[in-house]
């Protein structure tokens, strides 16, 4: 049985890559198909998830859940000029919950977790083979210099200021080195493999392998 969706998938892939030549109605077709599919999928999955999540209202009598149900729809008031402020309430809840979750998470994982990691790294400087010791020392120094790049209020005057100025410059170089290394390493990961896979998928489809 020939699957009609396989040639459509191939056509979409080729139309998408036509963007490399020029933005044309062909690319636009691929773009719009993708966006419509993504939105459609979000709504389909969302409706089923909402159904399951609101199920306890009638089944177990959890009437408190009616509140978020109403609040969620208040978002639509944004579209009405005079009632726009009503949408502040769902926004306030999302912000309150989201930001609180993020603050507690970031203090624990990034602030404390990474600081602890830095201190442990420092502990590896003594009592280890010289290669490990050197790497650890370098890591600690680079981290401290990079951190000094993020200090905003020190003026580059006076003795302290000049020391800071030097640290700031070095910190900038350290950050750029780190970013450069990341960028160089990154591209093989996702990019090229998917590019080759897409080409190969087109070839396979033409050969009828699926």
């Amino acid at each position: 049985m020939v699957n009609i969706w396989i040639p459509i998938g191939v056509a979409i892939a080729i139309a998408t890559w036509s963007f490399l030549i020029k933005e044309s109605p062909v690319f636009r077709w691929a773009e719009r198909t993708f966006i419509s599919a993504a939105i459609g999928h979000t709504v389909v999955v969302g409706v089923y998830t909402l159904r399951d999540r609101y199920y306890p209202i009638t089944a177990q009598g959890q009437y408190l859940l009616i509140i978020p149900a109403i609040l969620g729809y208040l978002y639509l008031f944004v579209l009405w000029r005079r009632g726009r402020w009503i949408a502040s309430y769902p926004i306030a809840i999302t912000m309150g919950v989201g930001l609180a979750t993020q603050v507690r998470g970031t203090i624990d994982a990034d602030f404390l977790g990474q600081t602890l990691g830095l201190i442990r790294e420092g502990g590896r400087i003594v009592g280890t083979p010289w290669q490990t010791a050197f790497t650890s020392a370098l890591t600690v120094v680079v981290t401290l210099f990079s951190l000094s790049y993020f200090i905003f209020t020190v003026k580059p005057t006076g003795a302290f200021g000049r020391v800071y100025g030097g640290m700031y410059k070095l910190g900038q170089y350290c950050l750029l080195a780190a970013l450069g290394a990341m960028a160089g390493n990154y591209i093989l990961g996702t990019g090229l493999a998917v590019t080759v896979a897409t080409i190969q998928r087109i070839i396979f489809s033409l050969q009828g392998l699926g």
Partner: protein, 257 residues
């Protein structure tokens, strides 16, 4: 002591210290004792870019990625959007923004309010300035790339959550010759921003720009709080590393309480 959950005391103390230092720094700034900050090129570039867009008669574009308003980077993006919308309304520059579903409502409110404040509410309408190209990472990216080609923005601002798609949007923007400003805290996004953006806000610089974007001295002065936080952190780390070198794990034990 039993009130605290295990291993959360240090967490709580750090939050309290950051809270108090932010409060104090803002107090000082209000009393006119705030400190100046070092110039951040990306901040002035935003104003400059909108001016350039007005001269060229091309739109300005802004997006914070697909996150909802509960994400702090998106909130930083919204603060920048507020200023951008005001400037765009003032200079009659068409504004285009793309948001995820969870931030759409907030963005519409901010843009509408900015146009109303500038006395041009008739220029705003829902779905005109604030667009939604689905929450999907690459569907949104494709929509933005197509939009760049059709509308040819003169300024692209990306402040928020960005991952591997940054290379795609960045190149699509460079292709139409837009001035590009980017800022994110995501580890996958920053290196790609470094190679595609004209002006880069690395990590915390994004929050500093969001705080000082209004160029209000009180706001700018409160950035000192962030520096106090980092100074504390630097001292903790240096003491910790020195203690470790001397063979004591005291800092690790303290931070793990």
């Amino acid at each position: 002591m039993s009130v605290f959950l295990r291993g959360r005391i240090a967490d709580f103390l750090i939050f309290v210290v950051l809270f108090v230092s932010t409060w104090l720094a803002t107090r000082l700034a209000r009393m006119g004792k705030g400190r100046e900050i070092r110039p951040i090129p990306a901040l002035d570039a935003i104003y400059e870019g909108i001016g350039r867009a007005a001269e060229m008669g091309r739109p300005a574009f802004m997006t914070p990625g697909a996150g909802d308003v509960g994400r702090a980077p998106v909130v930083a993006g919204l603060a920048i959007l507020d200023v951008m919308a005001t400037q765009c309304a003032k200079l009659d520059v068409p504004l285009l923004t793309v948001f995820g579903q969870g931030a759409l409502g907030a963005a519409e409110m901010i843009v509408a309010e900015a146009y109303r404040r500038e006395g041009k509410p008739e220029l705003y309408s829902p779905g005109k300035q604030v667009l939604f190209f689905s929450g999907d990472q690459y569907a949104r990216t494709a929509g933005e790339a197509g939009l760049f080609q059709r509308e040819k923005p003169a300024l692209n601002v990306f402040v928020g959550d960005f991952y591997s798609e940054m290379l795609y949007i960045g190149e699509a923007g460079a292709r139409v010759g837009a001035m590009q400003i980017g800022g994110t805290i995501q580890q996958l996004g920053i290196p790609l921003m470094a190679i595609t953006m004209d002006y880069l806000m690395i990590g915390e610089e994004m929050f500093a720009v969001a705080a000082s974007i209004t160029r209000d001295p009180v706001q700018t002065g409160s950035i000192m709080a962030q520096d106090v936080g980092k100074m504390i952190l630097l001292s903790i780390s240096i003491i910790g590393v020195i203690a470790m070198l001397l063979g004591s794990k005291i800092m690790i034990d303290l931070l793990s309480t």
